[in-house]
């Protein structure tokens, strides 16, 4: 019975995140357009695009093997599976014991590995270029991410996100000055991992600057839909991760209609704030050269150390 409940919760949360993730992308696009005094695409355009791509004829390269087919499916699956490891509306992740935040990082690494490998499968130089750059940036972001997670885990005494959230709910006002630095550091990681300006430009198809887009350049139709959808889920996931770590206030501590509604509202509001910040960052910055990205990541690493030092030394 309890297991069935856990599975149902995991499924519900996963599918829920799947359903709302494209909206976040649409929202950011719309807000970006507004800042550029354009009208921009409709809010639901990302959904239309996904539906269109899914209905298209699947086209694949002659050179590609099963690895190419497995890539988007595993990438999508990794993003979806990872959503069951974060608390969204309730102060517990559906599959909390299955793996805390390290498990989450591991699963996302699986998706990245699958897609970067698949990118090499068609023989197109773009795939290799994108895969190489994606793995490079992921590797550079990893220490900053781990440092941020270390600080959070030491502060709350757990690496399981549900426990982290419950800990800060117990404390009531859990704000600590070091959080500012830790949040800033992890926000840079978010930018790097989700391929946003100034690290990567999701809207570009200029060959020399593409990272993620180069990696998936050969994909079309349903395969591409999976990749796009999973990227949206991953973005929402990282935002939710930061919310859980730093501003979990409002999250429901019990499953009841009232608190859940409040939690949903609070979560949506917080995600909106993040979306606004991402929009502002994207609109006011230019994309960095690839070889300047290490400097940005070094800043994140420095912020992480600063947070750790302020908190514990």
């Amino acid at each position: 019975m309890e297991q069935a409940l856990v599975i149902a919760a995991a499924l519900l949360q996963g599918l829920g995140m799947l359903a709302v993730a494209p909206l976040l992308r649409g929202l950011i696009k719309k807000m970006k357009a507004a800042l550029q005094t354009r009208q921009g695409p409709p809010l639901l355009q990302v959904y239309y695009d996904l539906a269109k791509l899914l209905r298209k004829e699947p086209v694949r390269s002659e050179t590609a093997s099963w690895v190419y087919v497995a890539g988007p499916r595993l990438y999508f699956a990794a993003g979806l599976a990872a959503t069951t490891l974060v608390p969204v509306l309730v102060a517990a992740a559906p599959l909390e014991t299955a793996g805390g935040v390290i498990g989450l990082v591991g699963i996302l690494a699986l998706g990245r590995f699958a897609l970067a490998t698949a990118a090499l499968d068609t023989g197109s130089p773009f795939g290799g270029m994108g895969g190489s750059r994606e793995m490079t940036i992921a590797a550079l972001a990893e220490p900053a991410l781990m440092l941020g997670l270390f600080t959070a885990a030491l502060a709350s005494g757990s690496l399981n996100l549900g426990a982290v959230v419950r800990h800060s709910l117990e404390l009531g006002n859990s704000f600590h000055p070091s959080d500012v630095f830790a949040l800033a550091g992890l926000f840079v990681v978010l930018i790097a991992e989700t391929g946003r300006i100034p690290v990567d430009n999701p809207a570009t198809h200029l060959e020399l600057t593409m990272i993620h887009e180069a990696m998936v350049l050969e994909y079309a139709g349903p395969d591409l839909a999976l990749v796009e959808w999973a990227s949206a889920v991953k973005e929402l996931l990282y935002i939710t991760l930061l919310i859980d770590l730093f501003i979990p206030v409002g999250i429901a501590s019990a499953i009841a209609p009232g608190p859940l509604a409040v939690a949903a509202g609070a979560w949506a509001a917080k995600v909106f704030v993040f979306a606004v910040v991402i929009t502002l960052v994207e609109s006011t910055n230019a994309k960095l050269r690839l070889f300047r990205v290490p400097e940005l990541v070094a800043v994140a690493l420095g912020l992480g150390f600063l947070a750790l030092a302020i908190r514990f030394l």
Binding site: A10, A51, L54, R55, P58, V59, S61, E62, S65, V67, P72, R73, F76, A77, A78, A81, T84, L95, E96, T97, A98, G99, I107, A109, L110, F113, A116, T117, L120, T122, G123, S124, P125, G128, M129, G131, S132, R133, T136, A138, A139, L140, E142, P143, L145, M146, L147, T151, A153, L154, G157, S158, L159, N160, A225, L226, F291, L308, F312, L313
Partner: protein
């Protein structure tokens, strides 16, 4: 049976002996002697593994007498402690599949006349590794250690027509013997203080006092560090491991390295008394350095076996990092935390053996099928060698610490240990732990990049050479051992709790580690707490991903409505798609090469050949070399100094008999005066 039911050590050594004899007798019939040598070796290892399993399950060491020499009073005894048993299991997990693989593999790479020699040496090597692990006294240990070194050197020089192999074997011998020298000094110092040669007497921890203890620690760390491939003693490893036939490389990387690691455990961490905190910090530092430099150099390699060899340095570093963290915690009296760190280190040693064995065997298959070790000449092998590709990707996922494979579980545990280290250690020293954690995270992410390259460039896209076009799948006899190791990688990842409860028997037997702490969460999961509460159940993660894949397939299937996939050529940027336009391995690792150029110190050469105008080059040549930092700045001055001293000493060696008699006279006088003075 003529031996006690649970103690097959002597029996196994006897089997090795008989097999060696049989192999040499059958030397003229290569196919028969190959089968005898390798199957015999596998049988012997089955028996030692059985003994080891019995010791691990009962936690009761078994031992006996190996050899007694009444006249000199020398008694060589052995004792299978839980720690020895753990490493014997590592030997078993890898060497049985390696032996089976060798039956199929060696006839293709080694001239028939040499199979008997390789087979016999293989048995000598395994027997000596087993002896090293179970020896319970100084003489037996050093004897086995030296024989192990010689057997390995012989195997490295299997293809001794090639100057590279000879050089590699020579370098290995020199480095190993410097290491053995340090060990001899260390062991005999301990023995002379304890007035005993038995391990039971010299590893009590109370034998020597502090200033000398530090010196001994450094001696042993250096001595075992050479074998374990720890930076800066690693320079022999990327030369020697690739030079040997691939199945031997697998054995060297997966098993022989672990002999050094065993020494680090047995002596450095748990043989010299309660470790000093600085020892632990030194181990952590060298471990982190090995991990990060190992993976960075691995990334830059263009030879698939060298890439794997450098990655071995990385994993040795991770093992040492965990052990060092444990030592720091023991030094601070945090014994229940130290259990986590030491268990993580043991777990990673086992895991590394499984996935590195698998990857080396896979690389061996590719090298056999294509006749080259250069990654840039592979490509497209996934169609020609589908099973090899599938098994290689499992190894690649495991080594990149991706769940639910085994590398993930031990990395998870190592990270937990580092977190606990920060909790448990007072003062500024604890800053080392998060730094190590960040470096470990960087290492595993770089390892993922490295193995995306190794797998992708080798197996995917279009074949890059004639050899790759003509490659064929390797025989089943060589695929089955890989399939076995791949399932071990998966199994060890799925049941971390079970593995850790077995490792608990090892940690409980080590001095200074409290036996009550357990990190097993049932058979399937791991947990730490209560200070830093964390759990992981890799199988649940794996199942979730599988369920999510099913959802992905369903989503695509619902919309597709039976439409078939259209196959079209890859867009070749306006031209024809040829292997020349593909992304190369060098290009793949270029961004990281540029970012970490302070480490690599690359020298690049770009040459454009243009006839009409420099803007329309006919041909562009690109060459990049990374600097061998340690060879150049550490070993070259060192060897130069040694040679210089030798040159000076040449004066003494005048070649005149009178001079030599004079030396004897002077020595005799000095001795007389010295002894007379006492």
């Amino acid at each position: 049976m003529f031996v006690p039911a649970e103690d097959f050590v002597l029996f196994a050594l006897g089997v090795h002996g008989i097999v060696i004899a049989a192999t040499l007798v059958l030397a003229r019939r290569p196919s028969a002697c190959g089968a005898v040598a390798f199957l015999g070796a596998a049988v012997a290892v089955v028996f030692t593994t059985a003994t080891a399993t019995a010791v691990l399950t009962s936690s009761a060491p078994v031992g006996g007498i190996l050899f007694t020499h009444a006249a000199s009073g020398v008694v060589l005894d052995y004792l299978v402690t839980p720690l020895s048993a753990w490493f014997l299991v590592i030997v078993g997990v890898v060497s049985i599949p390696v032996a089976v693989y060798s039956i199929g593999y060696l006839p293709h790479t080694v001239p028939p006349s040499r199979i008997a020699a390789v087979g016999a040496t293989f048995n000598v090597l395994l027997a000596t590794v087993e002896l090293v692990l179970v020896a319970n006294n100084v003489i037996g240990f050093l004897f086995a250690w030296e024989l192990m070194t010689l057997a390995t050197a012989a195997l490295v020089a299997t293809e001794h027509e090639a100057g590279v192999s000879r050089r590699a074997a020579y370098l290995y011998l020199v480095m190993s013997h410097v290491g053995t020298g340090a060990l001899v000094a260390g062991f005999f110092t301990l023995s002379s203080f304890a007035r005993s040669l038995s391990f039971a007497d010299i590893f009590t921890g109370a034998v020597v006092s502090d200033p000398l203890r530090h010196i001994l620690f450094v001696l042993f760390l250096g001595g075992f560090g050479v074998k374990a491939g720890i930076v800066p003693f690693h320079v022999w490893l990327p030369e020697a491991h690739p030079a040997a036939p691939s199945s031997i490389s697998a054995l060297m990387s997966a098993v022989l390295i672990k002999a050094g690691v065993y020494g680090l455990f047995r002596v450095c961490a748990f043989g010299l008394g309660t470790p000093h905190m600085n020892w632990g910090l030194l181990c952590m530092g060298l471990g982190a350095l090995s991990a990060i430099l190992g993976v960075l150099y691995a990334l830059a390699q263009r030879d698939v076996k060298r890439l794997l060899a450098y990655s071995t340095i990385e994993n040795s570093g991770i093992i040492l990092l965990g052990l060092g963290a444990g030592m720091v915690m023991i030094a601070n009296g945090q014994n229940s935390f130290a259990v986590v760190a030491v268990a993580a280190s043991l777990y990673h040693a086992l895991n590394h053996a499984a996935f590195k064995g698998l990857l080396f065997l896979g690389a061996g298959g590719v090298v056999m099928a294509t006749g080259t070790r250069r990654i840039e000449e592979f490509g497209g092998l996934v169609r020609r060698m589908p099973f090899s590709a599938f098994l290689f990707v499992i190894g690649a996922l495991a080594i990149s610490s991706i769940p639910p494979f085994n590398g993930f579980a031990s990395e998870w545990l190592t990270l937990q240990a580092l977190l606990l280290g920060f909790e448990s250690v007072p003062g500024l020293v604890r800053v080392n732990f998060p730094v190590a954690g960040a470096l470990l995270a960087l290492t595993s992410a770089l390892a993922a990049a490295c193995f995306v390259k190794a797998f992708g460039i080798t197996f995917l896209a279009l074949p890059r050479s004639r050899a790759a076009v003509e490659a064929h799948e390797i025989p089943n006899l060589m695929l089955l051992p890989q399939a076995f190791l791949a399932s071990v990688c998966l199994a060890l990842g799925l049941v971390p709790g079970l593995v850790l409860s077995v490792a608990g028997a090892v940690t409980a037997s080590l001095p200074g580690l409290s036996s009550s702490a357990s990190v097993a969460l049932g058979g399937l999961g791991l947990r730490t707490g209560p200070d830093i509460a964390a759990t992981v159940i890799p199988s649940a993660l794996g199942l979730t991903v599988l369920a999510a894949v099913a959802i992905a397939v369903a989503v695509v299937g619902v919309f597709r409505l039976g439409r078939i996939v259209r196959r079209v050529p890859t867009w070749g940027c306006g031209g024809a798609l040829t292997p020349v336009t593909e992304y190369t391995g060098t290009a793949f690792s270029k961004p990281l090469l540029m970012i970490f150029r302070a480490v690599y110190r690359p020298t690049r050469e770009v040459e454009a050949l243009a006839e009409v105008s420099p803007y329309f080059p006919q041909e562009v040549r690109y060459r990049v070399e990374i600097e061998a930092t340690f060879e150049r700045y550490l070993y070259r001055p060192l060897t130069r100094a040694v040679i210089e001293v030798a040159e000076r000493m040449k004066v003494l060696q005048a070649g005149s008999l009178h001079a030599y008699l004079g030396y004897v006279l002077v020595l005799g006088l000095i001795l007389l005066i010295w002894l007379g003075g006492r």
